[in-house]
Amino acid sequence: MTRFVVRAPLFAVLLVLAAAFFFYSRSIRAADDRFPIYFDDSTVALKTENVNRATYLPLKELVDHLHLPYTDAKILELFTIGSSNNPSIVLAKNSRLIQVNGQQTLLAFPVLREGQQWLVPIDFLTQALSRVTGVEFRYKPGASRIFAGKVTPAELVMNAQALGSITRLTIGTSSPVNLNLKRDATQHRAVLEMGSKPVDPLRERLDYRDRLVRSIAFEDSDGAPRIVIETTDGVGDIRVSKAEEGRVHFVDFLKPGASPEAEPATAPPGLPSAVTKLDPLANKGIRVVVIDPGHGGMDAGATSGGVTEKDLALAISRTLRTALRDRLGVTVLLTRDSDVALTNEARSAVANNNQADLFLSLHIGYSPDKRDSGSSIYVIKEDFAGQTSAVSSDRLFLPWYMGYHANRNVSGGFASTLQEEFHKTLPDWKFPIRSGPIAVLASTTMPAVAFEIGNLNSAANSQIVDGGFQGRIVSTIVAAVERFAAARRSGA
């Protein structure tokens, strides 16, 4: 029993420590950070302090940068900006109440004074400073940068995905930027400098990691925007290619020794990659085709006996990929190259992020009627969502599921081409063109069709598992894509 007696003081000490932590944790400071403010003609990176969960800016450095006269009355603990007899802003230590042009204003957090330093919360900029200087400050809560005056930052969207053996980072900006890759192979770090123009990222940090990439983050604490990528030691080469006059950049991380021809994301053999990226339609009509094998993972799709739709769709898609590459020399990507589950959004994102010229979603049909061939070709139904989301074509932003809007007619054209080719190869099968609210087509921003082949419920359709029959289907689709590319080339 003595052991309990001995431990009692230990518990008491722990309890006191826990209580102390609870009470003092409120004034614990987070790591200090730098915070850039972008002005029309200059940029200042201020050292911020986080006190009581609020971000504070050093007042004197800010005022110095703006060349405003100020007085720091140490005994009165007052800070005045402007001339001493007619001050524009008056702040007092530990007070939320400040005076701006003779009017009282309440800040979100109290003004602090630490030694020689005055600290103001961020809303001091909008509440006080912009009213005195006439400079507008724009701050997104949670972001660590401020844009002042007429500064229009380039909006930045980043997206990363694994494509076969490479990892591709897609960087989209609202205005053209020049990316400058600096690589430090020993430290497994790649830095993409984005020039001196201010950049406003949608997200600071990309929640992505795989075999090649550890982390992707935007960083501009010193006023120089850049993207910092931590890589693993499995990365051999990093290639940057640009499209859309510098508004879109692809950064490909390759394994050492990976040949560019074998990679889905790089250009076909014989053409230097930069040229094809810059001129996407160079004498081929189409550049990238994305094939989406339906279902996958837990979602087996239609099943019959031991045959599942997901496996058949993947098998045919792989053959189709090889055939399209060989016959047309285009880049072909699969949304999934293994038995994994994907959301419909992830499928269309592969096509959207890679600027595909054509999206084919491949399914195997199932009809409750055993006599039916089951096959059909689908395009998205126009305005399927009805009046709740009626869209005018001049709207700048569309809901995600309205991405199809601009390309619906072209999709219909490709569907008829595909139907004609199927009727040539399989005259006994009906391939009606239907339209419906197909989820995987709704958010694609290029010509897109979904089609289902055969009827897994019909014994007469068992030839669908036969390799020779699949080859006929593949060459039919290739012929349709070839006609589509030819029509594109001739400008139709």
Binding site: D369, A385, P437, A450
Partner: protein, 214 residues
């Protein structure tokens, strides 16, 4: 050993035994509680109130079912419900007819047998929210045409017969689902689509639209 320590140990042992008893067959008890909640939540097994009164007049309706190997995806079958005062009850009766399946040889059932309608709500703007049990999704055989037929047999049967309903939002298991079997988007309410059927538009559509506009 001092007496108070002994008492303390005995109290702790008793408390431990009681706590152990709590875990005996806990899985079985949770399952039975969940099962009883499930049966209570299904209004179609034991409707708390009848869907129509004996005095309600009969009302002919067209119920849409997939056709067997036809050009059009859906075709309609004439059925009769009772014109109950509550619009929701009329909608529930129509959905019951859809679940029952067709009596005609050339038509096929559109909804997996195990699926049930859990609840129907109507909103003021003419949207019907129909909540199906999970079986409509898990027991669905798949196929794009087949899934579209399932969805539009529900949407068209409701909107064609009840002009007050302009669009239908399908919920599964009480929640919003992206698709039913992987193909058709259910995140938005869907409107009547007669282009996939061989049925002409309902005669009263114009009047009801005019009435709606006014």
């Amino acid at each position: 050993m001092p007496r108070h320590i002994k008492i303390g140990i005995i109290v702790l042992a008793v408390g431990f035994a009681i706590t152990l008893g709590f875990f005996v067959d806990i899985v079985g008890r949770i399952r039975s509680v969940a099962n009883s909640a499930e049966t209570e939540a299904n209004p179609f097994k034991q409707p708390p109130a009848p869907l129509y009164a004996p005095t309600d007049p009969p009302m002919p309706v067209k119920i849409f079912f997939p056709t067997a190997a036809g050009e059009s995806l859906l075709s309609a079958e004439q059925k009769t419900i009772f014109k109950s005062a509550e619009l929701t009850n009329r909608a529930k009766q129509i959905l019951q007819k859809v679940l029952e399946g067709p009596s005609n040889n050339g038509l096929l059932p559109s909804i997996p047998m195990e699926a049930k309608v859990q609840e129907v709500f109507l909103s003021a703007d003419g949207t019907a929210f129909v909540d199906f049990s999970n079986a409509i999704s898990t027991n669905h055989p798949g196929g794009i045409q087949n899934e579209q037929a399932t969805i539009y047999s529900i949407v068209d049967s409701l909107t064609y017969n009840l002009p007050e309903i302009h669009q239908v939002k399908i919920l599964i298991g009480g929640t919003e689902k992206e698709t039913l079997a992987g193909h058709c988007l259910l995140l938005v309410p869907l409107e009547m689509d007669l282009s996939i059927t061989n049925v002409p538009p309902p005669p009263e559509t114009k009047d009801s639209q005019a009435a709606h506009a006014n």
